[in-house]
């Protein structure tokens, strides 16, 4: 074990403000250990002897890729296939059938995974839609998946997972049907990968070129953001969401007391949020 001084409050505050300004992610005092443990590998990778020199360089230079990478390093990317089985059961048994019935004239669906991490969530949605065939045959379906982190988007786009990742939450019959095994890697089949469009989108910056959405999955991201930002993002999500659309949040997230234009609705033991009809 090596002993060394804890992160200085000046370094911590600098990082905290940088991260908050760029992503609205909040780092509360007391999280110094977390910041250190995430900055150290980045510092070494970028050729600095320690995170302290990295912070010094960030402070005195203009905003550049290094600042972005620091913000990226502070994101928590924990995810899994079909995370929270009840949410996907709700999607399969209640939400999709209602949308399919309600949009049989248009035959189009837009779905957005607004913090998709390494891709398990949008690919779960894509597999689920595949399983709904043939009722969706000849439908025009777009699954957009975005995240602030380029790192996770690169992994998501590759669609390549290790054994631990495919062991989690993914029904075995879907592993057999939609994955190929390459050595120690499990790769999502091209027909599923092609269904998902990945792009970099920071939720606190303008959301460019997003069509109106019928389903928005914005799961396990608001929880990391400050209150004002949650409000702003929910308000914008409400405008993007079709009047009869569905917003899905993480298990510990809600619109209650944040945005009254949404109301919670429960199906299959899970909760989603819909625009209040006025």
């Amino acid at each position: 074990m090596t002993l060394r001084a804890a992160m200085s409050s000046s370094d911590f505050n600098y990082i905290r403000n940088l991260v908050r300004g760029q992503s609205a992610l909040t780092l509360d005092p007391g999280k110094e250990y977390l910041v250190e443990s995430r900055l150290d590998p980045l510092a070494r990778h970028e050729g600095f002897p320690s995170y302290h020199q990295l912070v010094a360089t960030l402070r005195f230079g203009p905003f550049r890729d290094l600042h972005r990478k620091v913000v990226e390093a502070m994101t928590t990317n924990e995810t899994s296939f079909f995370r929270d089985a009840r949410v996907f059961a709700m999607l399969a048994k209640s939400i999709l059938p209602a949308l399919v019935a309600g949009r049989s004239a248009e035959r189009s669906l837009n779905i957005w995974c607004a913090a998709c991490s390494t891709g398990q969530e949008p690919y779960s949605v894509a597999m689920l839609l595949r399983e709904c065939q043939p009722s969706l045959e000849r439908w025009n379906i777009r699954i957009l998946a975005s995240d602030i982190s380029r790192n996770v988007l690169t992994r998501a786009h590759a669609g390549r997972y290790n054994q631990m990742e495919v062991n989690r939450g993914l029904p075995a019959h879907l592993l057999v049907r939609y994955f190929e095994q390459h050595g120690q890697w499990w790769e999502i089949r091209p027909e599923i990968r092609r269904m998902v469009e990945f792009r970099e989108t920071n939720l606190i910056q303008p959301w460019h070129d997003l069509p109106g959405m019928h389903v928005i999955l914005m799961r396990n991201v608001l929880i990391y953001l400050d209150l004002e930002t949650k409000r702003t993002i929910l308000e914008r999500a409400g405008r993007l969401l079709d009047r009869r659309g569905y917003l899905l949040l993480g298990g510990a997230e809600t619109t209650m007391n944040l945005d009254d234009s949404f109301e919670p609705v429960s199906f299959e033991g899970a909760v989603c949020f819909r625009r209040r009809q006025t």
């Binding site: 899994s80 079909f82 089985a85 054994q163 631990m164 495919v166 062991n167 989690r168 939450g169 029904p171 075995a172 019959h173 592993l175 057999v176 994955f179 190929e180 095994q181 499990w186 033991g269």
Partner: protein, 109 residues
């Protein structure tokens, strides 16, 4: 027996069998089993034969069966599902993986 301890923690009453043959005997002796977790590689009657033997009996047509094994080829998973297994966990596993797979089988754990 990490698995046994974990299942008990989730609230299951656990009956342990030493191999497939013993497993079939114990299953017959039980009033009701809600789910069976079975390894692949066992001395007397391996997991895949166990699964086939269980599925061959109409009384167990709907009994949830989950394989938990070091066999990690896609073809193994395929074969197990073909034989009648419902779920498949590749070792090494974590407690969370077991819980998530049980959820997929419809257990509210």
């Amino acid at each position: 027996m990490i698995l046994t301890a974990y299942l008990k923690k989730l609230g299951f009453d656990v009956t342990v069998a030493v191999d497939g043959r013993d497993g079939l005997d114990r299953l017959r002796g039980m009033e009701k089993a809600d789910v069976v977790l079975v390894d692949w590689n066992m001395p007397e009657l391996d997991g895949i034969s166990f699964v086939r033997a269980v599925r061959a009996q109409p009384a167990y047509a709907a009994l949830p069966l989950m394989m938990v094994t070091t066999n990690t080829e896609l073809s193994n998973v395929s074969e197990a599902l073909g034989a009648g297994a419902d779920e498949y966990v590749m070792k090494p596993f974590t407690a969370d993986m077991i819980r998530e797979k049980l959820e997929l089988l419809g257990f509210p754990v």
